[in-house]
Structure formats: C-alpha cells, structure tokens
Symmetry: D2
Subunit: 464 residues, 4 copies
Amino acid sequence: MTELTKIFGTSGIRGAIADKVTTNLALDLGRALGTFLEGKGTVGVGTDERTSREMLRYAFISGIVSTGTNVVDLGGAPMPTMASHSRMPGISTSVIITASHNPPADNGFKFFVGGREYIRSEEVFLESRVADRQFIVADWSNIGKISHWDIRETYIQRVKEFVLQRGGKADGMRVLVDTANGAACNYTPHILRDLGFKVTSVNSHSDGHFPGRPAEPSPQNLADTMKMAADSDFAVTLAHDGDGDRLAVIDEDGQFIDQNRVIALFARDEVRRHGGGTVVVSIDTSNVIDELVASAGGKVIRAPLGSLQETFEKSGADDIVLASEPWKPIFMDLGKWMDGIAGAARLAQMVAEEGKGSCIELMKTVPKYPMLRENVSCPDKIKPQFLPRVKELLLPEISGVEQVLEEDGIRIERNDGSYVLVRVSGTEPKARLYIGAKTQEGLDKLAAIAREIMKQVLESFDAS
Amino acid sequence: MTELTKIFGTSGIRGAIADKVTTNLALDLGRALGTFLEGKGTVGVGTDERTSREMLRYAFISGIVSTGTNVVDLGGAPMPTMASHSRMPGISTSVIITASHNPPADNGFKFFVGGREYIRSEEVFLESRVADRQFIVADWSNIGKISHWDIRETYIQRVKEFVLQRGGKADGMRVLVDTANGAACNYTPHILRDLGFKVTSVNSHSDGHFPGRPAEPSPQNLADTMKMAADSDFAVTLAHDGDGDRLAVIDEDGQFIDQNRVIALFARDEVRRHGGGTVVVSIDTSNVIDELVASAGGKVIRAPLGSLQETFEKSGADDIVLASEPWKPIFMDLGKWMDGIAGAARLAQMVAEEGKGSCIELMKTVPKYPMLRENVSCPDKIKPQFLPRVKELLLPEISGVEQVLEEDGIRIERNDGSYVLVRVSGTEPKARLYIGAKTQEGLDKLAAIAREIMKQVLESFDAS
Amino acid sequence: MTELTKIFGTSGIRGAIADKVTTNLALDLGRALGTFLEGKGTVGVGTDERTSREMLRYAFISGIVSTGTNVVDLGGAPMPTMASHSRMPGISTSVIITASHNPPADNGFKFFVGGREYIRSEEVFLESRVADRQFIVADWSNIGKISHWDIRETYIQRVKEFVLQRGGKADGMRVLVDTANGAACNYTPHILRDLGFKVTSVNSHSDGHFPGRPAEPSPQNLADTMKMAADSDFAVTLAHDGDGDRLAVIDEDGQFIDQNRVIALFARDEVRRHGGGTVVVSIDTSNVIDELVASAGGKVIRAPLGSLQETFEKSGADDIVLASEPWKPIFMDLGKWMDGIAGAARLAQMVAEEGKGSCIELMKTVPKYPMLRENVSCPDKIKPQFLPRVKELLLPEISGVEQVLEEDGIRIERNDGSYVLVRVSGTEPKARLYIGAKTQEGLDKLAAIAREIMKQVLESFDAS
Amino acid sequence: MTELTKIFGTSGIRGAIADKVTTNLALDLGRALGTFLEGKGTVGVGTDERTSREMLRYAFISGIVSTGTNVVDLGGAPMPTMASHSRMPGISTSVIITASHNPPADNGFKFFVGGREYIRSEEVFLESRVADRQFIVADWSNIGKISHWDIRETYIQRVKEFVLQRGGKADGMRVLVDTANGAACNYTPHILRDLGFKVTSVNSHSDGHFPGRPAEPSPQNLADTMKMAADSDFAVTLAHDGDGDRLAVIDEDGQFIDQNRVIALFARDEVRRHGGGTVVVSIDTSNVIDELVASAGGKVIRAPLGSLQETFEKSGADDIVLASEPWKPIFMDLGKWMDGIAGAARLAQMVAEEGKGSCIELMKTVPKYPMLRENVSCPDKIKPQFLPRVKELLLPEISGVEQVLEEDGIRIERNDGSYVLVRVSGTEPKARLYIGAKTQEGLDKLAAIAREIMKQVLESFDAS
C-alpha cells in the first residue's frame, strides 16, 4: 500500500483554506466519499458559518454527485444537528464543513454515520482514495441528484423531547447564551425559549468572521461574557464554540465552571436516571467523575483522547449512558454525537429544577478538587521511548496504586481518589502532566515526584 | 362618501393580530393596494421578525396579485431596507409588515413610495377601498406574479457607501450592538464589521418573541445593555427597535444619550457637510438642535409629530439635509426614510474619528441642557378648547418671545434659547408639557408658570 | 344548525375564480381546515399549473397557519402525488389546488387524508365553518409554521417500485405522452423514461393557459394527438388531464380505447395478481369489467358516481385490489387515490410485455361490446319521482334479471351479461340511459324498451 | 510560454464529461475565470438541462468564488438568455454550461461578455491559467459570495418587446414548437403564447436524456416532428437544439426550410427596417442572402465559420443589423448573441403577418435555388497545401469571377450569383465543397469542374 498523506486529525479534517482545506481537497473528498459509498445512497451536507463555507460546500457536493451518490444540502447547521441527520432513514453519511473552534481562516470536514463520527478505518479509506485518486466516475445517466432540506425544526423538536423527558419547562428563569457568532445562533436561544427560559444572547448574530470573540469557549475568550454574566441576574450562562458541539458553563457570579465538574454532573444524572450504566470519558478527565458516577451506582471507562466513538464500537458495552471529553457531552439517549446544544438545554433545566434557579446551588453537589495541568518540552524523536522510561521510574514512587491505564499515556490511579497522568502531545513537541487529588497537599506531593522524574528522563535523553 | 374606519395611525397601521391586524385585513389591504396601483406594477413585500409575519405576508401577497399587480417577496428585512427598495426601478410601492417597537402580539403595515412613507391622501385611498370593498379583480390570465429577491447585499452596500463618503474605516474600535432580536440582527453588526469595527452583539439572534427585552429602545428596556456597555471597553453602544428605524446611543460609561443631542450631532454634521441647508425636526425636540444647526449655518423647521414626510412634500424646501423625530434620523443624501441602521454606522464612525474612540469625547461638543417633559390628565372632550385657552393665558406671561409655533400644540420660543411646548396627546386623555432651557433655574421658572396656567385652564373646565 | 351553502361537489370544490373560488374563500377554507384539525398537525399544500395557483395557495396557507396548524408547501404537484403525501408520517391532511379538467378560468380544492379523498362528513365540517365563521384563532406565539419540500423524487420512486413489482423495464419501446400542459408534465414522461421507454411528449410544457388542448382527455380534445399517435411508430399513446388523475389510452393506429376496457384490463390483472379480490367500480361502467374480473376469480361492487372512497370506508371489504371510475384507476397496492400517472406507467409496461410492443395486441384480450349512452330532458323537480316510476314500469319488461342495483339510479343486470342503467344527473336537468350488451341486436332491443318507458314516464309528468 | 492544451473549440468548450469536461476542469475553469476577472466583479452562471449540469455548476461556482469573484446562480436557462444576462449592469461575464446539440454524455462551457461570446484572446487567457495553474486565491475574508436570481421573466419581456417593435400580436394562429426537451422548454412556448399564438408543443418537457430526439434540429432528427407538422393545421413549426441558439423552420406541409432562406428572410427584413446596413454571415451560406439583402439596399460580409463575434470586434462596421451562421440568427437590435428563441418568435410573427397565416406563402418571397454540399477525404497532413493548389487550378477554370474570399477556404463568386466554396474541415480529415447557382444546369457545370480539380489535387499528393 502506498504511503498516505494523513489528512484526518483527532477530530476530522482541519486546516487553513489557503493551503490544506482547499477547493481541490473538497472536490477530491467528495469523490472519495462517493467512492466509499459505491456511488449509491444519499449524503447530507451542512456547514457552520465560516466565510469559506459556500466555496467548500459547492466543490464537495460536486465531487459527491460525480460518483452517482445523491446529496441533500442542509445549508447551515450545527455539528450536533448534522450528526443527528446521519441517523435518518435513507441517509448513508452526513458531513459538516466546520473547523469547530479554530480561527476563521481555517475550515474542515467531519463525517458521521448512524449518529457517530467516522472511525479510523473509514477515514483511512477516504485518505487512500484522495491519495491514489481511484474515484468512481458515474455514467452521464447516473450522476447523483441534489435536493435541499431544512432540518432545523426536526432537530430542535428532538432536543426538546429529550430534555422534557428529564424535567419540566422553566418559568421564565433568566439565562445568558453566547453562541460564538456560530452555527448554534439559530438553535440554542430558541430551544431555551421554547423550554420556558427568558433568554438574553451575546455574540449571537451569525458571522463567519467571529467578530465577538475567538470561537473556543475558554475562560480567556469568554472574559467579557463572564462580566456580563456577573453583572445582571442571569441564573446561568451557557457558551458554545463555532459549531455547537462544545458547552461552557458560567455561574451567576460570573465564575467559569471546570469541565470535569460539568461532566460529573451530567454523568451522575444519567446513571441515576438509568439505575446504573457505564460512562466513557477521555483519559484527561479528573476523578470527580468517578466519584459521582460510583455514588450513583455506575462505572467509568477512560478512552484515549479523540477516541470516544472508537470506544463505543470496540468496548462492546451496551449500557453506556453518557460519554464525554471536556466540553463535549454525548447523551446516549439522544444519540452518539457530542451535543453542546442539548447539553446547554439540559443544564439550564437542572439549574432551574435542582439548583432552584441558582447555578451555584446546583454545583454545590459536585465537589471541587485541586487539579494541575502543565507541559514540558519533549522533542518528537524521543517520544517513543519517553513514556516507557517515565513509567519505569514513576510507578515505584507512587503508593496505593489501584489501577494503571496505558492506552494514551500513563495514568496512575491511587486508592485515595488522586491520580497522575503523563502523556505526549500528538500535535506539539510537548509532554503533558495532569494531576488530581482531594487536597492541595496531596496534589503538591504527587507533582513534586512526577516533575522530578520527567526531568530526569528528559535529561537522560539529552545526555545520550 | 361612506364613513371610514380609520385604520392608519401616525406611523402606518398597527394593532393586535387577534382583532385588528388579522388575515382578513391583510388580504383586503393587499387587494386595496393593488387597486390603488390599478392592477399594474410591482410591489415589494418584507417583514420584521414577528411570529405573525408569514401569516400576514401570505394573505397580503394573495390580495395584491389577485388584482394583477406583481409582487417581489423580500422575506425578512428591516424597515429602512424596505423603504430603500421602494426607490428601485420598476417598483411601485414597498411594504413592510411590522409593528416597530410594539409588543409581539401586535403587527402592522407600513407603505413606502420613492423612499418616503405614504402620506395621508394615499392612506385614505386604501382605507376607502377596505371600507367599500371596491377592489379590482384580475382576469384569470392577468393575475399578478410572485418572485423572490434577497435585497440584503444591495442595501448594505448602499449604507456603506453613504458612510464612507463621510469618513474612513475604523481600526478595530470596539462597539456593542443591541438589535432587539429584531429585523436588524443580520444588518447592523455586519455593516459595522465591514466598516472596521470589532463588534460584540447582545440580543442579536432573530426571534419574534423578543426574548431579550421589549422592542422599544428606552433606557428602562436597555438597563441590562447599559450595564454591559459600562462593564467592558466598548467605545459606544448602539441599540435598535424591532424593525431598525430607531437608534439609541449609550456611551462608554453606560450612560444613555438624550435623543435631542444625537439629532443635534447629526444635524450639525450634515449642515456643515453641505455648507448650509434646512433641518426638519418634530415639534417635541429641544433647542439644542437649533443652536448647533445655526452654528453651522443652517436653519431648522419644526413639523407636527408623525408628519416629517408630509412636510417634505408640502414645504417645498429643496435644501433639506436631515430630518428627524426622536430616535429616527432621515439622512437625505441616503433617502427619505428613517434609518437607525445608517445612523448607527455613522455614529460609530463619528465616535472613532471625531471622538477619537470615545463617545463621551464626541458628545462633549453637544451641550447638555436641562429639559422637562411631563403629562397631566386632559379628557378628550375638552381638548379642542384646551389649547386656545392655554395660549391666551400663557403667552402674556412669557417674556422675550421670539416665535410661536402652532401646528401641533403651542410652542413658545424665547430669545435665550429656552422654550415651552404644550400639546394634547392624539392617543391618550392627556396634555403634555415640554420645557427646555440653558439653566435649571430658567427651566424651573418656565415650569412654574406653565404648570399653574395648565392647572387653571383644566379647573375652568371642571367648573363649567 | 344554520343552512349551509354547499361548496363541495362530487369531486372536491370547483368553480370560477371570479366569483366562487376567490381569495376570500381560499382564506376561509384554510381557516376552516385548521379549525377541523384543532389548530394542530401539518397540512401539505400543492397546486396544479393554473394561473391562479399562487393567489389561492397564498391565501389558503395564510388561513391554515392562522389557526396554529403547520403547512408544508409542496409547490406544483399532480393530484396523485398530493394524495400520496397525505399518507406520510406526521401529515394530517394534504390538499391540492386544482380544477382537474375544468377550463383555465376555474380552480378548486381537493382534500386528502390517509391517501383517500375527504368523505362527505369531513366536507360538511369545512362547509359549516365557512358558513358560520367559527374559526380557531391561534395566539401570537402559536401561529403555524410554513416549510417547503420537494416531493417529486419520493413519489416517482414509489410509482416505479409499484410498476417494477408487476414487470420489468422496457427496452426502448416508443410511447407518446400528452400531459395536457398540466401538473404531470414533470412526472409521467420521466417515470416512463426511467422504466426504459423511449418517450416523445406532446402538450407537455407546463402552462396554466392549457394552450395545446382543453384539459379533459376526451376523444374530441385529443384529435391532434390521435393523429400523431397514428402517424409515427408509437406502441401506445397515454394522455392525462390537468392534474394527472385521469388516463386516456390511444393505440398505435390512433384509436381511442374505451374506458371500460382499460378498467377491465387493470382489474383482471390486479385480481389475477392477488389470486382473487374485490373490484369497486362506479355505477356507469360496463359489464366487460365483470366478465374479466369473474374470469380471474374476483368479484365486482358498483358504487354511486363520485363515491368510490366513501365505499372503501363503508363496505368493510378488506380485499379490494382495484377501484375505478372511468379514466381514474385506484391501485390499492399503491394507495387509495386515483392515479393516472401510475396507470400510464403500468399500461405502457403491459403493452411492452403482454402486448409484445402492440397496444392493439394487448387489447385483443379485452372484448369490445356494443354500448349506448344517451340523455333525455328531465326537469329537476320531477327527478324524485322519476326513478321509482321507471323502475316500476321497466323491471317487468326485462327478462333474465339477475341483479338490480339502486344506489345511484336503477341498474338492471341480466344473465347474458347485458345491463340497463337509468340515472338522473346531479348537475343538469337530464336523465341518462346507459346500456351494454354482447351483441348490437341485444343492445337495440333493450334500448327500444328503455327509451319507450322513459318517454312514457316523462309524458306522465307533463300530463299531471 | 508553455505549450497549451487547447480546450476551446469553434464554439466554446465541449466534450465528454467522462474524460474532458470533468469536475476538475470545471473547478479549474472557475478559478481561471475568477483570475481573469482579478478576483472582482460578478459572474452569472446558468445551465441547459443536461444530467451533468449540477455536478459541473457546483464545481465551477466553487472555483469562481475561491478567487473572490461573486456569482449569481441563474439555474437552468437557454443560451440566448445567459448571453443577454452578460449585458446587465454589474455583470462581468455570464457563462452557460451546455454542449448545445451534442449527445447527452457531453457537456461544455460558453462564456459571454457584453452580449457577445468570448473572443480568442479571452479564451487563451483561460486556457493559459488552466495549463499553468496560476490562480488567484482569495483571502478567507474576501471569498466571493453566491446569490440566486430568476432571469426568466426579464429575458422573456425583452424578447417580446423586440418582436412587438416589428409587428403585432397574432390572433390564435396555430404553431407547433419542438424544443428538443432542452433549455427552451420553458421559454419559446410561453413567449409565443403571450404573442397571441395557439401553441402545441412536442418534445417539450425538460429532460437531459433528450428522450424525444437528438438535440441537433436536423431534418433527420425532426422526421417525426415534420410528420406532425404536416398532419394538423399548424401554420408553421419551429424547432430548437438543446440550448436554444438554433432555430429550424418547417412549413405547413411538413417541409423543412433551408437555412439560407431563413437567414435571407431575416436579413432582408432587418435591412429594410433600418433602411440599409450590413449583414454578416458565415462563409458557408448561399448567395440568396446577398440577393435579398442587395434588393433591400444592404450589403453582406462573409466571416470564417465560428467567427461572427470576432468579426464584430474587428470589422469596425457600425451598421451591422443582422449576423448569422446557419440556424443561428443574431438580431443586433436585441443583442450580439445567437438567438433561436427570438428567431422563432419573429418568424411566427412574419408567418402571421406577411404570410397571412401560411409559412409557404411567406417563403414564396425568398427564392429557392439549387445547392450542393459534399465532402471528400483529405488527410490532415496535406490540408496546408491543399487549398493553395486548388485555388491555383480552379480559379482559371471559372469565368465571370466577381470576388474571391480566402479567409476560410476559397470562395469564388461569379457575376450570375453562383459561387463555389472549397474548405477543409477543422475537426475531420475531410475537404468540403459547396456550390450554389440559380439553375441546376449552372450548378452541375460548376460541380463538374470543382470535383475534377479537387480530385487532381488529392491525387497529386498521393503520387508524391
């Protein structure tokens, strides 16, 4: 097999439209996708609000229909909406053209089937065809057809049903929503309104220039929104990235809520609701999740970063009730996709009902433990040997080890609920250290040990 | 002639969809309009974002084409955009379905020709046809045709040209925009961005429920927005009503700028720019306008409330450069319509250039004088005699009278720039008193006199 | 209950747009329909190609959404397509705006639910609401929403499936299609092409003026098409009316095939295919149907004119395989609607397969017996007594009577396959006589008897 | 400069979608066109009805906007309509995706500016960019925008105006129209109806499979239509190719009218109407044109095949009133494009008015002279020397020579109105001989001479 240019990253395809995600790539990807589908079936195509959306959409659709596969063009739609589309009858695959929270000069593609993202083996097929250019070319009488559909109401209806199975309508509780001028502008505020909230929106006119703030809903980017959140009497503030898979939560004092606590909240709730079940979270999440899930009678599986969906397929677990990376909850009762929009609606409902109108009250039920996350330089060439050596030296220094996970870095879990995770980055020349513990003192001790050992290992490479 | 039900108010047709602005009225109005146009020509139809927009649009369009007149359906569009449409080649009239800043349960119609609103004689024709139901009915082979057009880019282009004739692009100055979840959501933020501003928006997702605040951009309704304005480093904050004809301005300290000062600012600027000219303002505006216009070499005409457009037609003045009621500037170089969107863009540009990035700096050049506005009870039946008696008693008490205007109430202007205006309301059983002066002391004296006399007059009716 | 204006005829609502089917009626009907549906659910709306289609569609849709019921606007679509839409999930009712084969100055409405036309009790509800104007008026926050969908591919797919369950694709057999410049222009030729026929079309550009011929596919109106059919080597020629529920068949010699033989052909085929079953036909059809259906092991029920759908509901028969009035076959395996388009496709397939490329060959298997149809004057006021007296006198004169049907006129069936039917018209001051027999001699005898008796009865009224 | 692949032929780009006119070429052509326009301006894009239209349209539009140039997508539209679009304000270029009368497996592109086709120098720019791939790539914030417009009514209006400047409306004269199931299906029948004709159409449902007949309107392909023309009482029959630039005319006896006579008819008419002027025709047209043009006081210029538009630019003549290749009239009062649709409308009008309802009558005013057109084998490699030798030998043998034209082959014109033209084909290994004369005897003599000399010349190459 020929050496492929790997065009997929951990979350679909992303890059600058100037040199990576070009019209030519879009056309070829369309041809590759149609070839994957053997020139049959129907593909849904949607986009976020980026300025390059039409340019890429047109080339991509041309490529798909050139193979004989049909297209239903869904226009602008958030990521969760497109994912949900892939589960509809007669739909072979749905694709969103988005670069999520990347800068506006980037764009990309995400592929869904049956509600989940494409897994690696499916991506490899597309990469191979883009590389070897072995595309199906439909006969003139079999070229695919293009139709148009507005999916918005159908998706909104589905999310409202999902939320109303979990609680009631609110009675005018005030919420602030920040949709990053992105694809959720026409979704989250309207769903919340229909669910009985009084909605104020900020950064919520659609604009692919992302004028209000960068699309990533990080505390830095949300500084102004956090001030607004504190300033008026909003019970909670909910923020998205550009395509609506991410959810950030800010309380009525304008404090940003740590992602691990949001995941823990959703996880405990879904496990309780199902009387047990499995929660799948990414390796970089903290043990507060395990604590709350255990309290509700469920169990936690950790997956490598970017591999939640892979894990669904492989794990064989049929009782998964929630999965999540930081920011991106997957509610299995809704579908296998990351859904910041449904997350926002459910969280607002929990603030209204369980928090009695206060996000601070609601979050009091989720402990807040010390955490650490830091990076050190780690050249790419030493990465393969780095982790084994760290493990070799680190493990003996840690007491009370309960479990060691090695699928993505080394995560050592102790019997007091603390943990150490050392990983190497897939995209930067860096190693990352994550520590969680119930006390600051406990965390500091683990940090001292881990830092020292990482330093030793790195120095050993310098010496050699 | 039969007695008509008067369906037009001071600003088009407005009322509850439940009993006044019904589908039947919409159908009949469409038939009346087509009859007015003799079953010929083409009418543009647009709407704001109200929930009843489609229902009324469909019935109205049906009525128009039933007479033989064609329709171009422009979908959702702000009021100024629809007004500008009425000036395009081949367009007989353009209509927006809107109730401006009324509550969401209301809706209405505004008619434009050649850029200006319909004047009374034109409205009377429509009212007469709705009353007598003498509509043109087109033969089956001559029914009007319906086409669709997206006017957005054309209007946006025109506003940008207008603003760029007055100054340059900004260099990333931050502005906050509040479009009342209305028709300007997809216009003002984008125009400002194209003009070089860094735009944050609040209440700017389209929603006919007006979830964020009532549509009128009054200080009370903008309380939250004023807090946001003060909280971050926005150079200026600009707010609209539901259909974009109104503009409210808030400075970087979150202070709401009085409308008279905004008008005075625009008026002085346009007069300077044209080396003179006439400014038409409504009777209820203050003398700060006169002061600034005079300083620039122009003159001011006052018009009854709701009659700016009527005044254009009647006055014969061919050097009008600006006209305005409170909130609603008409830039004659742009067209004869009230345009809060163009106003927002121009004001932001003036903050950037003349205010050097500070709205407070910019407004320092516009004096801030004491003003008073208050109401007293005044039963409808005494209104006809009320004003003559007030005039009779009041005029002798006021010294230094320079001019007395009597077209809409009695306005007495003094040679020190102070004035007293007494009007009766057209919609409520009230009389209104407006006073302006350069000092609080001066104002208090005039107020004491006017209150006393209004009281005497009202008591004289009680006695009789 | 108030006296109603009856607005429905035997086949929906029809009349001149000038005075009956006006924009006001369309609006009221929309309101009545939404009221019937209790302001809930979703209604599909489509139209044929008449020039008044947009005018009526807009008013009708406005009326529906004013009650809270949603609308999916399907644009132009043939009658069978709209009927099929009414069976889709989530669709409460589908409506086509059409006047079928009436002149272009007329238009009308046909209502479908679950694939069948509205029955009388449903029509009465709509008539009552139009009369008493007791319409539901939705609150501003509950007005219905309008969406758009292109149903064409879905319907075409369904018809092709239906036909391909009955046989294979053709191998380029030539067919001529005449779609009356109506709603089937974009359907029948394309379905036939996809089924392997080489299609030439005449009168097949869409035009609501019906320029090529009047919309009714009668031999007189098809004179030119019959010449074309004879002139080139088309195996069969298929013609529709304006909305595609009717099918006329012309053989390769340009001969128009009698409707009874077309029905008999379809009926025998469906009964054979199901190994038995019931065929429902209208009272005015001939006994050739009974002969062929019996030969295939099925049985025939006769229904009053315009009441096939009523009969489905009432008869309780669950083995109906085909129903038909002249021109309008209902294939129960496809759905409960009259479908000239599916009929055309199936007939072409039968010509190709059973006729081996010759319509004349195919029709040789369906006997051609003498028939008579004639009218005599019969004033409306004597109609109630006319039929009983005819029965009283006629029955004793006819020998070998096997069955007498009295649901719509008097139909006397004899044991040699001949029959006499006497009816009074529902729309004209006429009585109608229909006779069928296996020989001309047999027919002449029955005709002499029936004419004489009808004459006697009519004279007896004159005398009185 | 690099050697270019020449992708343009004599009439734009055409070829099989399987290997020449691919999605990749469409994308590159779009990028080349945007580059030609410097990433500015707006391009109109339309298509005929071919099955590959969407596939190519999407890729082409993607390419254009990737450079910063905007696109207005006009959907399906005939060639003359797209050409007329290129003359609208703000439009830089308009492009139709069509392969005219080629088979359905082909497609192509034609470019227009200011109403005329691109000339060679413009084509060379596009070819060069496709070859060297030096395309402009717009920055993310400057990507072109896509809008949609329905041009149909505007074009139809323009054609009707043009025709009604030349005569009146008809009074129901019957015409048969055959639009080749192509782009004119929704144009020619409707224009003729609006002009008062009673229109029957054949092969006039849109279908990119061209089911009714091959798209070229040649007598062979129109055999069935000619039978229909003869069979009923149509005053004239008008036929197009797939994109509507070509017009074929059939009289009421079903006789196909020679193209030279159609051109002569239009040419005389336009010259008369303008009181003189120049007519430009292609080299292969007969002298009947010269005779009629001269009789009306005008003069004729002959242009190489495929170069009418080039000739406009070069000739400097400012009094051109008509130009034409066989089938493709250009009415200069309408615009610089070939317009079979306007031709059809004008011809029908002339039949009604000048022919008093008879095409045969009308054509009696245009003489019908003997003509000959035949081919002989002529290998590509000898083509360069073939014509000089033919000229050398032929010229001395012809008497009464008035003029010799050598721009495209050798055309010898004699003083009795006869002529001989010898050309070599640009696409096949053939030489072509055209002769016209007023008598068969005269033609035969010229034919004998020319055949003998062509034979000699060809043999001389064989010998060498």
